[in-house]
Amino acid sequence: MAVIAIDKLVKTFGAVRALDELDLRVEAGEVHGFLGPNGAGKSTTIRILLGLLRRDSGEARVLDADPWRDAVRLHRRLAYVPGDVSLWPNLTGGEAIDLLGKLRGGLDRRRRDELLERFDLDPTRTCRTYSKGNRQKVAIVAAFASDVELYVLDEPTSGLDPLMESVFQEQVRRIRGEGGTVLLSSHVLAEVEALCDRVSIIREGRTVESGTLTELRHLTRTAVTVETARPLTGLAELPGVHSVRETGGRTHLEVEPAHLDELLGHLVRFGVRALTSAPPTLEQLFLRHYGAEGAAVAEQRATETPAALR
């Protein structure tokens, strides 16, 4: 059963079409990366899933319930960490955690204390004195100390240091180990790569890609640098080969994964002296999807030259 099932979701704010027939499917027990450039509609989607915003059209089901109509019943079964955490300035961090946990239906006291320690958070300070990272920790501890089926995390680690990031990742793994489901919106690609079983990339309110990271990699070109005994010819005629360029006797090119075999067959005829091939980095993968300029930047980085190709 899909824990989150969104079909052709549309949401407009005045003349702005924030979500334009967006699709998203998160299966039970998976950690699902939710990615997209700023303003793509990630937070809007999440707010619809929480019943805060009302959809204009399309379908949205969470844990097989209507997020708008059944909000309260649903919220007992999920925990949410907002992207920009604001808290009551005169409550202490500990009070805010207990309050949020209790309003959700109760939290695990032992795990709460353990998490406070792991995240190195002083619960006796008032929320007013917390930095952004500490406010995020409050929301994270309150969420992770709850026993729920679904965790909705909207850029939860944007203010955390690397040490805390690793504690966060360890907790997400614990949740997956216990059978929980996580929707993780994030810009930290290393985090996505480390945690997510599947990712969905959205852009301008639409889902542009969805699948496992391996699947997505197959859709992207591999960067190849080759040095041969004899001058290379005939590359342009090969299928799936792009952006061919020569510098100092070396040839740089990109090839679609499906045509890698044909390329290698072609290369060996010229006496290969050196060959490096790099799978697309996650960053290139995302930049390709994040926008037209993003794609140009990605290619530029892939070949490590300052001048734009083409």
Binding site: G51, L91, T92, G94, L99, L100, T124, T126, A139
Partner: protein, 543 residues
């Protein structure tokens, strides 16, 4: 780069941010002064009436405490006695909040950090705030001088200038005080509270000085004792506008401002941006059980304000109750005044009319509590706290209902407390405190339907026009206030007066209450509350 680099730019930024607030302040103060002076001139038109007023004011300790030392029987002296205290407290608070808003609040929100990293000197933010607020005080005082000279048919210009300058001086003095408190605490709330406490202390010192002052031989003047001279609130009275002005006293607030600004600069030089002199306190690492519900949270967030209001209402209640006895004595001595008051409104016991007016005043003031407490819903929505709460198992209906309920519970308690303390104050000097407390507590409770309507207005605005709810809620309350206070003076048509819920609550104990207006008000309130809640349940949040 000097420590003042960027001051002018920041001044323009502050003016841009506050163009509406400052406009209301600078134009509103003269308008209010005009309306008050005109109404005083109407109530005390001749020498006989003013003589009666002056002798009563000079001999009544309550009048001395609240209105200050009466300075004679001139119309100007009566106008000052009737308006000075109100206007002085108003400009003191306006100045305080404005200074803190442009200094400590900027630091608290991090805006000052952004500015401080650009080409801006260490003192620029504070200096810009001082320029804006002192400027506003000067302009408001100039307008007020003009308004007073025009208002009271025969108020001399020199006296009007002195009276307005005295009021402006209070604003200037507390501008300095707030500049210092803004350096002391980490939060703008704390800085405001500290400065507001200074305003309260200044008022009490002035009141004490005037209570212990001496009544002149002819009985129409009071010479204040020394405590008035150490209070910035008292200095304005010592100007003696309209009755032989002592211009040099106007130098006192300016001197205080200079000293306070020097101190504030010294403090600013010695501390880090964002830090205060008082360290932030720590609290419990675990929540108490009672806190863990929307109601518990509402109580926790409201209790400080409620306590402050209770102290204010209690002091006011006891004082007004004690004054009721003096009112009786005045009527007995002064049949002319009695006739004038009887002509103004209602039959029955005159003192009941006075008590009814006081209870009406409390209800208006507590309306401000309702608006303030209930607008927290919008603040929570705007700053994102609401999102975190509604993502838990708390429904919108329950959350909003709790907030409305908490605000109304607090308002009910304050209203009853006001009635009971008034009855106690009256009864302690006139006998039967328990009976009077009970009777006036009951009479005060009859005002509750008006507060229900105020809560309904705020809730409906929050549901239907969330972005405008803060401005429109306060505007609505101001309209109710003005209709109630000035409607009769300005001879507005009854249809306009009927817009205010306060027009419809029975003026108990002067008038026997009848059920229909209370039922209608409650029904209107219920309709507004339901409409607001329904709109909120069906709209996006945050919006």
């Amino acid at each position: 780069m000097s420590a003042f680099t960027g001051t002018w730019r920041l001044t323009r930024l502050a003016l841009r941010r506050d163009r509406i607030r400052l406009g209301i302040w600078i134009l509103g103060t003269p308008l209010l002064g005009y309306a008050l002076a005109a109404s005083v001139a109407g109530v005390y038109p001749d020498d006989a009436a003013r003589h009666g007023y002056a002798t009563t004011s000079a001999s009544s300790l309550v009048a001395r405490a609240f209105n200050g030392p009466i300075a004679g029987t001139d119309l100007g002296a009566v106008v000052v006695a009737e308006t000075y205290a109100t206007l002085a407290v108003l400009v003191a608070l306006l100045s305080t909040f404005a200074v803190v808003r442009h200094t400590r609040q900027n630091e608290e929100t991090g805006r000052a950090e952004l500015l401080g990293a650009s080409v801006v000197g260490r003192y620029a933010l504070l200096t810009a705030a001082l320029l804006v607020v002192v400027g506003a005080n000067v302009l408001a005082a100039a307008g007020l001088a003009l308004a007073l000279a025009l208002a009271g048919a025969g108020l001399p210009l020199a006296g009007s200038v002195a009276a307005a300058a005295a009021i402006g001086g209070v604003g200037v003095a507390f501008t300095g005080v707030a500049a210092v408190t803004a350096q002391l605490t980490v939060t703008s709330r704390g800085a405001n509270a500290l400065a507001a406490a200074a305003v309260g202390l200044a008022f009490l010192l002035r009141a004490a000085g005037d209570v212990f002052g001496e009544q002149s031989a002819d009985g129409t003047r009071v010479v204040s004792a020394w405590p008035s001279w150490v209070s910035p609130m008292g200095w304005g009275n010592q100007v003696r506008a309209y009755t032989g002005e002592r211009w040099w006293t106007l130098a006192l607030p300016v001197a205080l401002l200079a000293a306070a600004v020097a101190l504030a600069y010294a403090l600013a030089r010695r501390r880090d941006l964002g830090a205060g002199l008082f360290a932030a306190r720590r609290g419990p690492g675990r929540a108490a059980t009672w806190l863990l519900s929307p109601a518990g949270l509402a109580w926790r967030l409201q209790r400080g304000a409620l306590l402050g209001w209770a102290v204010g209402v209690g002091v006011l209640g006891v004082s007004m109750g004690v004054a009721a006895d003096e009112f009786n004595a005045m009527i007995a001595e002064n049949p002319a005044a009695a006739e004038a008051i009887a002509a103004m409104g209602g039959g029955g016991e005159l003192v009941d009319g006075y008590l009814a007016a006081m209870l009406g005043l409390y209800a208006l003031a507590i309306g401000a509590y309702v608006v303030q407490a209930l607008l927290r819903v919008r603040a929570d929505e705007a700053d994102g706290v609401l999102e975190a709460v509604l993502a838990t198992a708390v429904s919108r209906r329950r959350w909003l209902g709790t907030q409305v309920g908490a605000a109304l519970l607090g308002a009910t308690a304050l209203l009853l407390f006001g009635g009971v303390t008034t009855g106690l104050g009256y009864g302690l000097v006139d006998g039967d405190p328990a009976g009077k407390a009970l009777a006036l507590g009951g009479a005060a409770a009859l005002r509750l339907p008006a507060l229900l309507v105020v809560a309904g207005v705020v809730t409906a605005l929050f549901g239907l026009l969330p972005r405008w709810s803060v401005a429109l809620s306060w505007t609505a309350l101001m309209v109710f206030l003005l209709l109630g206070q000035l409607g009769a003076v300005l001879e507005l048509p009854q249809a306009a007066l009927d817009l205010s819920p306060y027009t419809h609550v029975p003026a108990a104990p002067a008038v026997d209450p009848t059920a229909p207006p209370l039922v209608v008000l409650t029904a209107v309130a219920a309709a507004l509350l339901v409409a607001g809640a329904a709109a909120f349940r069906h709209r996006d949040t945050p919006r």
